[in-house]
């Protein structure tokens, strides 16, 4: 199975945008990791390295946007949060078309430990008015997100990952902003997954299918604005919903879905994610296992949720 990290896809997708002189890529001394370095080499006149100064990164990007540019501002997910208030007060408040495209989200920066992992970023970005939050599920979707966001007005937080994950989509797949993506249909239960967890949800649905449980799998790549119609329909039609995210269960995808369902279709729900703790150093796979971000955990959550459904 072909594998690629969404950060690699981001770096490659940027290269296709280089012909557009309004695209400016900024990085905060992490261009080798975020994969903006390739763009820097090919389009030095459209690349700005601000050094490790994230507040300035966002401010300069804002100024460029005011000047008619479409800036992609990159760093690690966790360090972009250092400029959360700049993102809120300038980028989001003024609806500037700055794309905060961050890599190493979730636990993926595994050996570096808690200081370099980001399990709170979806929550923090989601609560900002005007802000959109996009988490591509694979390399194909990431590339399409970059292409679409280069044209869409308005700010976005694009959450990218370091680990190589399976390609789920065909190469002509086109990301649609704000639309949930149906991966598998099913009637008994719905798995709403985002980012790296989508391919685990697909694998879990296959296990569940063999156990006679018909599982709907939906990729929520746009966490904000959430495709509430798709979420409500899934809850109505399957009567049980599980969210899966490489993020804290507080404030992320699970919370976003619960906010909608508690008002419209309060069905039994399980939230799979990190349970209000910091990460730590280790192998990525081991960390995922420790926090229950595995196919087995999704399967067993589904089985116990189905018992609650009855």
């Amino acid at each position: 199975m072909e594998k690629k990290s969404t950060r690699d896809a981001y770096g490659e997708a940027l290269l296709k945008l280089g012909g557009n002189h309004d695209i400016i890529v900024l990085d905060a001394d992490l261009s080798v990791s975020t994969q903006t370095g390739k763009f820097a080499k090919l389009f030095p006149g459209q690349f700005i390295n601000v050094g490790c100064a994230e507040q300035n990164l966002i401010g300069v990007a804002a100024g460029l946007a005011i000047g008619g540019k479409i800036p992609f501002a990159s760093t690690y997910a966790i360090f972009s949060l250092r400029a959360w208030e700049q993102i809120r007060n300038t980028i989001a408040h003024d609806r500037l078309p700055v794309k905060v495209a961050v890599s190493h989200a979730g636990l993926t920066n595994a050996p570096d430990g808690a200081s370099h992992q980001a399990l709170e970023d979806i929550a923090l970005m989601r609560v900002i008015p005007n802000m959109s939050v996009i988490v591509p599920a694979d390399g194909v979707e990431a590339a399409s997100v970059v292409q679409m966001e280069a044209e869409r007005k308005g700010p976005a937080y694009i959450r990218l990952n370091r680990s190589k994950t399976p390609i789920l989509f065909l190469h002509d797949y086109q990301f649609e902003f704000g639309k949930a993506v149906y991966i598998a249909d099913g009637q008994d239960i719905t798995l709403l997954a985002t980012g790296t967890m989508v391919h685990l949800a697909v694998l879990a649905s296959e296990v569940l299918k063999r156990a006679g449980i018909s599982t709907r799998v939906i990729n929520i790549s746009t966490i904000k604005p959430l495709d509430t119609d798709a979420v409500i329909r899934a809850a109505r039609e399957t009567g049980a919903v599980i969210t899966v995210e490489e993020h804290s269960v507080m404030g992320g995808l699970g919370s976003a879905v619960a906010e909608v369902l508690s008002e419209h279709v309060p069905v039994p729900m399980s939230l799979i994610g990190v349970r209000d703790v910091f990460g730590e150093s280790g192998e990525y796979e081991d960390l995922l296992e420790k926090h229950g971000l595995t196919v087995e955990c999704i399967v067993s959550s589904a089985q116990s949720l189905l018992r609650r459904k009855k």
Partner: protein, 279 residues
């Protein structure tokens, strides 16, 4: 006397008169709002007057003109100063000034892009210089020759982001960028040198690679001269450290810390307006 000097003197007289008009607006609008920041609005108003009525290439009928000079009020709490300059320039009717801080008004407590002529929303300190750097870079990338001006508070220079942007501005040799520090010496909790020592402030900027000009920021000729000196500087950005008086123009407010963020009461407002009418 040379023609240009005559012109300059006439300019100074007009600008001084205009600054007085703007001061009255500031006093009035903050009184009517019942809250706001008069001290730091009055200290920087001579600079804003020089900018909006002499220095900036701008067209109030076309706020989005791509080649306009940019001005960013990073010390956003001086919003009344900016709003009075924008209104008197013709960006919106002067009568609207009375709606400052009122529900439904576009005149938010701190600058907001809802208002024609406001380039970026500000109010949270420390952020305007970075944005100004981005504006200056965009000009260079597009080969446009507009200049970018940004007004900082001195207390605002406590913010780390100011110094991130200061390193950035000189690294990129942004010589179309002019920062002005309203060096009124007072921040909310007291004199800047007691709260967090800034001196030697000029030396800091110089070491960061900026061309530094120190002036009396309440003297129109000094301000105009500094702007023209800044235009001649190549290869580095300029910072004008403008020594000003907080509350300048209203005797009982001058160098009084409590007027940082306090509106005048009715009696105070009358005395203030009398004084501003008198001279």
């Amino acid at each position: 006397m040379e023609h240009s000097q005559l012109h300059h003197q006439a300019d100074v007289r007009t600008l001084t008169k205009k600054a007085k008009v703007l001061r009255k607006h500031i006093v009035n609008m903050i009184f009517e709002a019942g809250s706001g920041h008069p001290g730091g609005s009055l200290s920087c108003i001579d600079i804003l007057t020089a900018l909006y009525f002499s220095e900036l290439h701008h067209d109030p009928s076309k706020p989005a003109w791509p080649d306009r000079d940019r001005f960013i009020l990073s010390k956003g709490h001086a919003a009344p100063a900016l709003y009075s300059a924008l209104a008197e320039s013709g960006y919106f009717p002067v009568e609207i000034l009375h709606t400052l801080r009122k529900m439904g008004s576009m005149l938010q407590g701190h600058p907001d892009t809802k208002i024609p002529g406001v380039e970026v929303s500000t109010g949270s300190l420390g952020q305007g210089l970075s944005v100004a750097c981005g504006c200056a870079l965009a000009a260079r990338i597009d080969g446009r020759c507009f200049r970018t001006y940004v007004m900082l508070g001195d207390g605002e220079c406590d913010e780390g982001q100011i110094w991130e942007a200061a390193i950035f501005g000189s690294h990129h040799k942004l010589d179309s960028l002019v920062a002005i520090v309203d060096r009124n010496g007072l921040q909310i909790d007291g004199p800047t040198e007691q709260v967090l020592r800034l001196e030697p402030l000029a030396g800091k900027w110089r070491e960061f690679g900026w061309h530094v000009i120190e002036i009396d920021g309440n003297k129109i000729p000094d301000i105009l001269h500094a702007f023209s000196e800044a235009k001649k500087v190549k290869g580095k950005p300029t910072v004008i450290i403008a020594h000003t008086l907080k509350g300048k123009g209203v005797s009982f407010m001058e160098w009084i810390g409590s007027f940082h963020g306090k509106a005048l009461n009715k009696d105070e407002m009358k005395i203030a307006l009398d004084e501003l009418e008198r001279d």
